[in-house]
Symmetry: none
Subunit: 121 residues, 4 copies
DNA sequence: GTGGTCTAGACCACG
DNA sequence: GTGGTCTAGACCACC
């Protein structure tokens, strides 16, 4: 379900968080579904439980998950989750566009790339 | 000429490198112009000379600058530098668009953001 | 495993880098093998950890190694590394042959040296 | 007569030395010819006289030149000069061949490069 | 424990 | 004065 990339420069817990968030947003994990336990997921990915713990904490902080002591972690009902996620994404998108303008990229060029990206995928 | 952002998660030497590369690409710093000395720029930004040293080393690696011991660091004649830079940028842009598709962003939304970004700036 | 030559004019971090690259190319260090930690290797060679750090950073840049924060540095799967290395070497070889022609060395002489070198080793 | 390359990583005085040595070995500068004065050559190359001074000192040390106080520097009668030069060169050549063996270069490959280099030039 | 960044201060080679 | 290397020691993020 989740594949880690140790050559990715980002920390493992961030990768795990992102992957799980994507699964939730895409609807693969539906509201109130129970996530695998910290220990189990840690075993599956053969990494340290602390790392999963941290990822789950982030998920909860981001509002994707709620945890019940003694029971486990569950997917939160995604009310405005997608919206929040989108807003954050848009902010990053604008940052990178700004950076592009700094090195002389034109609007046209970016639109072309956009078209290209949305054709194939 | 350069303003550091200590809240930026990236290391300082990377920020300095990027800022200087932008200045070169934009033509503010023209070929064979002498950059400020390692020590002077360090003083101006009130950071350690080693950090600037590292930034300059990166700039040299990237081909934006050539350094002569005992003389100083100079802007390199920019042959295909801008092109290389653009290619790298486009790759990153595609990565982020891909990520957007993963969370359900539509082509239309991104095009709107593009228009917005290019209006103001 | 590594022996430093303090009379060598090249900086230490470069010597370390080269030695490790050779070990990887020769297959002594195989893909995904963990390198000694920065601090340990520094102790073994009785030099400063920063110097090893720099060597490892170079190795990563050259694609010989990938580093994971908190875990360690590992030998990268060597895709075309050997080929790239060879190309660079050939370039340097041509440079030195060119230099030889400048001082009147003949092809014959160099061929003799070649034979000599490949006999002993 | 001499062209400097400021992007060459070697120090200027070494470049000057090498260029002059080559001119002497090739016979362009014949024994007892007077070299340009330190100040004049410095002016011609628009570099610091100290640098030329150092190059001339090296040349004298290497035996390519003898200097007469108050008169100037003169090309030495090249008795065994070429031989000494060759010996040094051969040593370096062997070093680089050795390095090639370390990364798995074969004798055949180097012989091919040799042939290539001596064809064109 | 690991890798990575930064500072402070020294020293070298070069011009 | 310049760039470049190295040491010593600190701190951070990560596992």
């Amino acid at each position: 379900m989740i594949v880690l990339d140790y050559r990715d420069r980002r920390p493992i817990y961030e990768q795990v968080t992102e992957k799980l968030e994507n699964l939730i947003i895409k609807g693969v994990l539906t509201p109130d579904t129970q996530l695998p336990s910290v220990r189990k997921l840690a075993m599956d990915l053969s990494i340290n439980p602390n790392t999963i713990q941290r990822a789950y904490a982030l998920l909860e902080q981001h509002g994707f998950v709620y945890s019940v002591k003694g029971k486990g972690s569950f997917v939160a009902p995604n009310n405005q989750l997608v919206e929040i996620q989108k807003v954050k994404y848009i902010e990053e998108f604008q940052r990178i566009v700004e950076q592009g303008k700094n090195i002389g990229i034109t609007k046209k060029e970016l639109e072309n790339e956009l078209t290209k990206s949305f054709m194939e995928g």
